[in-house]
Symmetry: C2
DNA sequence: TAGATTGTTAATCGATTAACAATC
DNA sequence: TAGATTGTTAATCGATTAACAATC
């Protein structure tokens, strides 16, 4: 069984490796990658070894090859079909950001607010939220991103699940009593800051 | 030693408890809280027991009391002084969101772009990024939020650290070779989606 | 070949679970 | 008191580290 933390670190390695490649780096050692990514060399080697032997003993890892290997482990060597629900200020910002990532294919954005329908954020058109169900029947969607107030999350998650979406990232915490046939993650900025504040206070003492 | 995961869960419990309180709930059982927050009853009791005995044996936990207890554990019973660096589309959205949380006191927002100086996002004024160092000398700041491209993160973190900020939340991954006398957290939306996509694909098989 | 670093194993560390005694 | 649920302990599970044999 591969630890979840390993998968998360692969994303971090990928970013460090890409930056290395841009700088013209050809080989990288587990010690270097570890230092840059804030882990240990042991862990870098262990993480990679779950998926195969990507390194050259005595030499290190070929940067370009390792980037490819990690991309195909994560499955991002082909486009990921995304939609966004909730085009408020946060939703709009996320929508802009997601369009900058080459392997994200944003199929549409949905909102309740009539005034937003038909508007574009970058290349993506805002559609009425009640089109969502129909849209999912006609377009296979991998992941959904939700940026609406907490009260609405449950219902939207239901619709996405029935529409075949297998993963959801929500920017509002929701109570999720219902076990679901999908992967559900929450990003709560206030919670991150609370955690940070607690740790920062411990640091002082 | 208290697990980091425990602290993160406290934030989640807090949100579930507040929602319960709004519904008029007076007592809550560890089993109920666990179900709503996606953990186990054992873990709820263990997490709370690190900080004391907040429950009533045979009865459960008084919702209002537990909310207070968790707030003072996290230290959010007094305002947290925050600043934001980088007032792009994501920064603006975060700035709006943070202003909605009662215990966050946003002292200022900073940006490189001259055109943004003097503008307001809600109640917060955008100041020139080169004012930051001086600003920190005159205003004690608990936490900083960074929403700028990755290249600039290192320098801003330096400035914040020297200015006495003890915790930073960055929305761009940065390579952090330098060990720091502060707590540094990264939120990377693309990385979250990559993780979600990997897990969603495993789910199918 | 000699030198260096990977991949892997065993040991350690930490977090979660399960079970139950304490007690409201 | 009897019933119920907390707080806590010991057992389990999982992830990280350290050390080294394999090998480029």
């Amino acid at each position: 069984m591969i630890p979840e933390a390993t998968i998360r670190r692969l994303s971090v390695y990928l970013r460090c490796l890409r930056r290395g490649l841009r700088r013209g780096e050809e080989l990288v050692l587990s010690t270097q990658l570890a230092r840059r990514c804030g882990t240990s060399a042991s862990l870098v080697r262990k993480d990679l070894s779950y998926f195969g032997g990507f390194g050259i003993k005595g030499k290190g890892y070929r940067v370009a090859d390792l980037i490819h290997a990690i991309e195909s482990i994560l499955g991002i060597n082909k486009p990921i079909a995304l939609i966004l629900v909730g085009v408020g200020s946060l939703g709009r910002a996320i929508l802009r950001y997601l369009q900058e990532v080459p392997y994200f294919n944003i199929l549409g954005a949905f909102d309740n607010d009539e005034k937003k329908w038909g508007r574009r954020v970058g290349r993506v058109e805002v559609l009425p939220a009640h089109f969502l169900r129909r849209f999912l029947e006609e377009n296979p969607v991998d992941l959904g991103v939700i940026a609406i107030p907490p009260e609405g999350v449950e219902e939207v998650v239901d619709t996405l699940e029935r529409g075949g979406v297998r993963g959801v990232l929500s920017f509002a915490l929701a109570e999720f009593e219902v076990p679901r046939n999908m992967v559900l993650e929450f990003v709560d900025i206030a919670a991150e800051l609370e955690f940070l504040y607690y740790k920062a206070n411990k640091l002082k003492t």
